[in-house]
Amino acid sequence: MSGFNVIGKPWPKVDALPKCTGETRYADDLHFPRMLYAKILRSPHAHARIRRIDVSRAQAVPGVHVVLTGRDLPTRFGILPVSQDEEALCVEKVRFVGDPVAAVAAVDEWTAEEALRLIEVEYEPLPALLTMEQALAESSVRIHEYGDGPNIHKLVSLEFGEVAEGFAQADYVREDIFFYAGSTHLPLEQHAAVAHYGPDGRLTLWSSTQTPHYVHRALAKVLGLPPHRIRVIAMPVGGGFGGKSDPFSHEIVVAKLALLTGRPVKITLTREEVFYVHRGRHPVLLWIKTGVRRDGTITAMHVRSFLDGGAYGSYGVATTYYTGALQTVTYKIPRYKFEGVRVFTNKPPCGPKRGHGTPQPRFALEVHLDKIAEDLGLDPIQMRRRQIVEAPSLTVNWLRISSCGLRACIDRVVEASGFREKFRRLPFGRGVGFACSAYLSGAGLPIYWNDMPHSGVQIKIDREGGVTVFCGSADIGQGSDSILAYIVAEILGILPEDVRVVTADTDLTPVDLGSYSSRVTVMAGNAAVEAAERLRRLLFRAAAERLDVPEDQLLARERRIFDQADPERGLDFAEAVQLAEARFGTLGAVGSYKPPKAPGRYKGAGVGPSPSYSYSACVAQVRVDPETGFVQVEKIWIAHDVGRAINPRLVEGQIHGSVYMGLGEALMEEHTFHSRLGVHTAPSMLDYKSPTPLEMPEVECFLIETEDPNGPFGAKEAGQGPLLPIPPAIANAVYDAIGVRIDEIPITPEKVLKGLEDKARGGSGRVGPTSIPSLTWPEPIRVEPPPEWRSSGDLT
């Protein structure tokens, strides 16, 4: 047994019952006296200049309080300091259908809606650039004035070691091109925000946001208010998945409306608006070339990714790097070249969605490796398994691997699924596929440069032994509040129910950067460990004096502090608290966490480093109907190296959710647009297809615990990584079932039939992109690999 009291057990989440009784209040559930309702007018054009806006008729509608336009909020903002390219309401130009143009605050939504219809906007349409190819070719039309080239937001070229040399050493070189369609988060909760500006000159914003700290900074910047007069409270978020991690136009608008009216103002986006706000998965076209020895050992890899960024920067610079950075953390790649480009197009801006920029290259890599194994007559499992990264080690691009349970993950799923008995042996129409993946446990660097902690925790204890934990982290359903409670309860020897958690309130809680990049368990968790241990030291000191037992002999468990050698000799937790308060004064402690310094020293080294990497391996079993092309996933076996499962049930829940989202992306979810006008063709829950319970396969989970040295109790992430192997495992399984390669996500029935028909006519049966846009890549930044890779001129 682990010897833990709380850690490793399937406790209910601290907020589970309130969520099951309808008590949890989300942003849209807030209601204040005198509250006004806001609505936003959006652009019907994909690209146009705003010639004139006349709000006079809207202003005159009874019940309308304020009408705002871009002139009222001209300061630009954006999540990344390098891409401050958004306006709360567009000033001169609109860049996609749905771009915000004007806003109204009125007594109710009917009135606000009516007023919107009376706002007259005169547009001068500009050519709409709706594909990457168009945007790259049309250098005379510019969506933005900044970037690394005409309509190029970001251009990256990095080379780690001499790839040419690596390819020269290869016995076999293969190139492939893949496409991974854009998809959206589709949280059940539509974004909502309420703002209030009090007579004390303080502004409060309640919002469904994953990143209250960044919203706080953006509000201060755009509104021109000192940050200490702004309070941002992240309400429990009804689903995020990355879709609520930018500061948003509607948050700023509603704050400004509250400032101007002196009344509380609420805005709740409609489902359609949520599709326009987006920040979802980037469509990525990806070219990959790998050189291998006869036995499958990789000698070099070269990846080129093309990201269709949509109309604004968002997290896009980071996303661009992410399509290249994490290729190296699963298998040993001695030489690696990555070129990536993010292109602006007149579509809703893309950003981070569960897996942020890594499911696309992971899909490509795992299908590509499957093809290489087949070409060389190798076992696809064995080929991967023999070249798994070591821990500890540095990858060729300077990412530090602190623990890796991938080998165990592979063995568990291969055995449990009977993969070897099934692979290439099931009857036509049924197949199995395999894939691995890795993901980071929190970004190693903050979004804006600073040397401060990424997460802070404060703990207070009252005289009766009640413990309150304060942290800036936002619970978006993943259970981060509960993780804080479990960790603090474990260390102080109490139960999760003894801990109250107060989070995501910029006035009350120390800064945590937010719920993105799978960072909260590791970062806020480590901060909580530090704070709780500091507090426990005070309790132990006071208890030691009273019990006359050396401090280091004490143990805190089951609401008691006692002598390990003589458990009868002890104090109730509350008693120890009172002694400590009498001895030291009011009790409290803080803890904070900053990730280890990333070892890479090159431009671009900031994206990819993490305190630790999680690993997953997956086997998918599918049934393909060769007449309809429908792919039914029968079962998923997935093993995840989570370092330590602080709560195995929550980890399994994260894995199930990841499998589900990966399944949706693999088979049906897709953001599609009218080819000429750029209108989203399916902005509804009905037309955007997300799987129902009937599409969900059985999932067998295996948790692998590697006890990572950088994690709290050894924990790593679980919320995003398990999504990554799902699309490639399904694609590989489809090939196993029907002998057709669908190198394009989603794998729709139409594509399956197209492949089968092509095959029947004597073709290869492959469906997927066949070329990439021509682009002059810059000279790469050449990075010397870590010492252990430098001698790898000869790998054998």
């Binding site: 209910p12 099951c20 559930d29 209601h31 059940l188 959710g657 990841s658 509804s684 009905l686 009937l694």
Partner: protein, 167 residues
Amino acid sequence: MEKQLITLKVNGELHTLAVPVFKTLLEVLREDLSLTGTKHGCELGECGACTVLVDGEPVLSCLVLPIELQGREVLTIEGLMEGGRPHPLQRAFAETGAAQCGYCTPGVLLSAKALLDRKPAPTRREIAEALSGNLCRCTGYLQILEAVERAAAQMRDVRSAATTDGR
């Protein structure tokens, strides 16, 4: 806006309200009765988040008018607790992790209650069918299905214990 007097029975309580006739049950529950436990994700009947029970049957509150419910009984998530104690479904959902972000949870719970009231021992497939109008983006549904099975088993145990006591 012209308002109309209507009576609405929600969670066993009778309310008389003056509301515009075109205000949906969802809006009236949330805005006039402060029963914000009923959620909404599309207001078009496509997501199931606003599901409540009307005379025991699952109904989308975003697509029904209070005036259409005269003489009928509405049950919302706030009314699922029995005597201040969580319903077995609520307990099972909390214990199994079936509520992640929790936003679809009230609607899912009410669809599940309608199923279990009609069919105390459903198969997993029947549960999935019954919940197939309640989209969830967090859980992958599996812990939800497990929770419904667990609650169903508990409710059957309680019932059979009650029968035994009765003898």
